[in-house]
């Protein structure tokens, strides 16, 4: 049988002996490649340096020259019970993001404190970060006992000081262990020859006693939709919703709901490659499903079971965040949020308090700087599905992207009901807008039309563009004040600072903002956009207010609840489609017959 595997991270203040501990552990458990120890001893001799176990790990030249661990490195060793992956996390504050990267992969942490130096800034900060990252099993190692002649008094002093700190952050370590990593004291069983006053277990025994992460399958189902695949090669017609089950389990025949869209369907099959057919699947597996009904959903939705506790859906939430970004976290700046498989624009709405993770002091500040932890309120452009992290961890945490980089990590503590970001924005826009002396009514009278934003949507390649242009020409010839705005205009002109084409959300927002200008001027604005969904229409409507929006759908409609104003079959000849739209425009009094 293959051995069980476990990731353990080693953290602590710089120079408290992490690399030495790992090097010695590898040596004492016989886990080094043949000749490696001799090779390093030889290298040290040649360069007239005293031998250090830490050199075993410093595989990179860069690191050796600076004498500190820059990045997390992994080493491997086995006990009878398990295969361990030991992650060496840097202790220097400069490399906090690397420490976090290492720790986030771990199921347990060994936290080192130098008995001579005592509890230092990063001993506290790292302890705090472990609890923040959700690591529940922590063993505190009081190192370098050889330097204090294995004094129990010195050990007890560190233990009581650190216990007091951990109490403040509600963290209870599994154990404290006095060790001397360089001397191999208390690393493996029966290696404690100097501290007869210590009756507890060695590191290795404690490690073997750590518990594997419990299965999350008893929780409600949370399946972030990572993608929707339809590969048509070899006549494959499956439409497969793929992702990894974070919590819970799901069976063929179960009714499922997707959030935030609230669309419902039933699991038809569980898909896999080189797998026997399955009827049920549970948390941890990367899998795929086909659904009983043709559902149009996008990556980023969260699939839950209809019969279980649903995820929260909202656009405003309270969270604790730690910041690693080069630039501080500030208000009025657009960031990108990644939560589960969802990606959306996010703004910092309010900083409740900023916490110094090492000193546990709180202060009020207008921004969150690098390496600070803060309680904040965030607001997204569109609603997202999530959980409170104390209930379901995996869907209750997120990262914030600033300038292409992961700059912050957060855990959600509360969902806040409030007006949406856009409603807020539109209110303030309308308030500060300097109105012209020409009233909308006068414009309507003069132009013989009510301003309107006509959006033509539907799947790709159904002739939306041709229809839009033909409609513009038709209305223009009928002396209407009309303008066709292609989405490519947006890309080339106003929207040239939009980074990637996928940044659809920002596109929609800009389109809505522009439509407001055109309709405010009394015009008919025509634009096309593929696969508009319920929520995106809402955004356009909000931004285009107080004027109206007319939605024309060509071909298959992907709307779930939104009532489309006009449905046009895919292959309807253009002149007929235009006729249909014109009839609607007259019916709705958008086009007004001349009256004298």
């Amino acid at each position: 049988m293959p051995l069980e595997q476990m990731n353990i991270v080693i953290v602590g203040h710089v120079d408290h002996g992490k690399s030495t501990l790992i090097g010695r552990l590898l040596a004492d458990t016989g886990s080094l490649p043949e000749g490696k120890l001799e090779q390093v001893r030889e290298m040290c001799k040649r360069s007239a340096k005293p031998f250090e176990y830490a050199f075993l790990l410093d595989a990179l030249k860069d690191e050796q020259s600076q004498g500190i661990t820059i990045d997390t490195a992994r080493s491997f060793f086995n006990t009878e019970k398990r295969h361990y992956i030991i992650i060496d996390a840097p202790g220097h504050i400069e490399f906090l993001k690397n420490m976090i990267t290492g720790a986030a992969r771990a199921e347990a942490a060994l936290l080192l404190i130098d008995v001579k130096e005592g509890v230092q800034e990063n001993s506290r900060r790292h302890g705090f970060m472990m609890s923040f990252l959700g690591i529940k099993q922590i063993i505190v190692l009081v190192n370098k006992m050889d330097l204090v002649h294995y004094s129990q008094k010195a050990y007890d002093h560190v233990v009581s000081e650190y216990t007091a700190f951990l109490k403040e952050i509600n963290l209870e370590p599994l154990a404290f262990v006095p060790i001397a990593a360089r001397e191999g004291q208390n690393l493996i069983p029966y290696s404690n020859t100097e501290m007869s006053w210590y009756k507890g277990q060695s590191i290795l025994e404690l490690m073997d006693g750590l518990e594997k992460e419990k299965s999350q399958s008893f929780q409600p189902l949370r399946f972030p939709v990572q993608d929707i695949y339809k590969f048509t090669e070899e006549g494959d017609d499956r439409r497969i919703v793929v992702g990894t089950i974070e919590t819970g389990s799901v069976s063929v025949g179960d009714e499922v709901v997707f959030y935030p869209s609230q669309k419902k369907s039933v699991i038809k099959t569980i898909e896999g490659f080189n797998l026997p057919s399955q009827k049920k699947i549970e948390s941890g597996f990367a899998t795929g499903f086909t659904l009983e009904t043709q559902l149009y959903i996008k990556p980023g939705e969260l699939m839950c079971k209809a019969t279980e506790t649903r995820a929260l859906v909202g656009a405003t939430f309270r969270a604790n965040i730690f910041w690693m970004g080069k630039n501080p976290l500030i208000k009025n700046k657009r960031y990108k949020l990644k939560l589960g498989s969802a990606r959306t624009s996010v703004y910092l709405k309010e900083i409740v308090s900023v916490l110094n993770a090492a000193e546990l002091t709180q202060e009020n500040k207008p921004e969150v700087e690098r390496h600070e932890v803060a309680e904040c309120i965030f607001q997204t452009l569109k609603p997202v599905a999530f959980d409170i992290s104390s209930q379901i961890e995996a869907t209750g945490r997120f990262v914030v992207i600033d300038d292409y980089e992961i700059a912050g990590g957060g855990i959600i503590t509360d969902c806040i009901e409030t007006e949406s970001l856009l409603t807020d924005y539109v209110k303030s826009r309308e308030f500060s807008w300097e109105r012209s002396d020409i009233s909308p009514f006068k414009r309507t009278e003069k132009f013989g039309q009510k301003p309107q934003f006509i959006v033509i949507t539907g799947p790709r390649r159904v002739g939306k563009l041709a229809l839009a242009k033909a409609l513009e020409a038709e209305l223009f010839l009928a002396n209407k004040s009309v303008y066709f705005l292609g989405i490519s205009n947006l890309l080339a002109g106003l929207g040239s600072d939009v980074r990637v084409a996928e940044d659809r959300e920002e596109h929609i927002r800009r389109l809505g903002e522009m439509s407001h200008l055109f309709t405010d001027a009394g015009l008919l604005l025509i634009s096309t956009i593929s696969d508009l969904d319920d929520n995106e229409v809402k955004i356009l409507k909000t931004l285009n207010a107080p004027n109206d929006l007319l939605v024309i759908n060509v071909g298959e409609s992907h709307f779930y609840e939104f009532p489309v104003d006009c449905l046009i079959e895919k292959d309807l000849p253009i002149y007929q489609a235009i006729q249909k739209i014109k009839e609607l425009l007259y019916k709705k009094d958008i086009l007004i017959e001349y009256y004298l």
């Binding site: 595989a59 896999g272 992961i406």
Partner: protein, 293 residues
């Protein structure tokens, strides 16, 4: 779920994440066991399909069986197979086997340089035409912005510091000191124009895991890894002038697993049959910073 299920699920998640976020994505296939497992995982992730090109750097000194195996599998699994090469160096016979340069410089030219330019698209790429059954000049010349690689953390010191999603600058350089954070299954999928990302779905796998998985899934691996009665087999594959078989009588996957778990290879480095690693202290690291996989 056992630990192979966990590794498999994590790799699939990473592959799907890459496919979702990168428009111009490719996967490097060296024909060796790791990248062949990676290819298998892609079929898992994409439910039997491989919707991205597989790129192979042909040094023209590869063990001939490797190329035969590559094309056989590519045709059988209908892969979008692409190869690139350093034509200049080969034409000028500027290679170690031709006696003009040392091993490391040869690696640099035939692999690193060829790879850099093949990924950038400024040197010709050749694509397998399934209709004709041979390679034709590829008309797609855009740079690949996402490159999936089968590197494992346990292979060698420098690889143990890699990220799952690891940025490379315009020169394909790797800044080990300033790598992006990764936490809670969120990776660096946003990148500035001109840079690209290397993606490592196998980072947490060990050599043993690879073989255990090959056994479990019954993956058709190239038979150079097995002893055919001469008491020798390859443990790591590369160019024939610089890669040597190790002494071992393992004839199948099961025997290799046994050998790795308890036998004589338990404490000998996997790449010990690769001559270029030994030329200076940080051979592989130097190569890696300059773009070697």
């Amino acid at each position: 779920m056992n630990h192979l299920d966990k590794l498999e699920s994590q790799s699939i998640y990473i592959l799907r994440e890459a496919y979702r976020e990168f428009k111009s994505l490719c996967m490097l296939w060296s024909i060796g066991k790791d990248s062949t497992v990676l290819l298998w995982l892609a079929r898992k992730a994409f439910l039997g399909h491989v919707p991205l090109p597989l790129v192979h750097i042909d040094t023209h000194y590869k063990i001939p069986a490797m190329i035969a195996y590559r094309d056989k599998i590519a045709l059988e699994w209908k892969l979008n197979m692409v190869y690139g090469e350093n034509k200049q160096a080969l034409d000028a016979k500027n290679t170690f086997p031709d006696g003009k340069i040392d091993r490391l410089s040869c690696c640099k030219l035939l692999k690193s340089e060829a790879l850099k330019h093949t990924l950038a698209g400024d040197w010709p790429r050749y694509r397998l035409d399934h209709g004709q059954g041979h390679y034709v000049l590829d008309t797609y010349t855009e740079p690949y912005t996402g490159v999936i690689v089968g590197a494992r953390a346990d292979e060698e010191g420098s690889r143990s510091k890699e990220r799952y999603f690891s940025p490379r600058d315009k020169q394909s350089d790797w800044d080990v000191g300033d790598q992006p954070p990764e936490l809670w299954n969120q990776y660096k999928t946003d990148f500035a124009p001109g840079t690209h990302i290397r993606i490592h779905p196998l980072l947490d796998w060990t050599e043993l895991n690879i073989w255990e998985y090959i056994e479990r899934e019954n993956i058709p691996i190239i038979d150079l890894y097995f002893d055919k009665g001469e008491g020798k087999r390859y443990r790591s594959l590369g160019c024939y002038p610089c890669t040597f078989p190790v002494e071992s009588s393992s004839k199948n996957v099961q025997e290799i697993i046994e050998e790795l778990r308890s036998g004589k290879f338990a404490n000998i480095a996997e790449r010990s049959g690769r001559a270029q690693d030994k030329e200076d202290g940080g051979g592989l690291e130097t190569l890696r910073r300059e773009g070697y996989m």
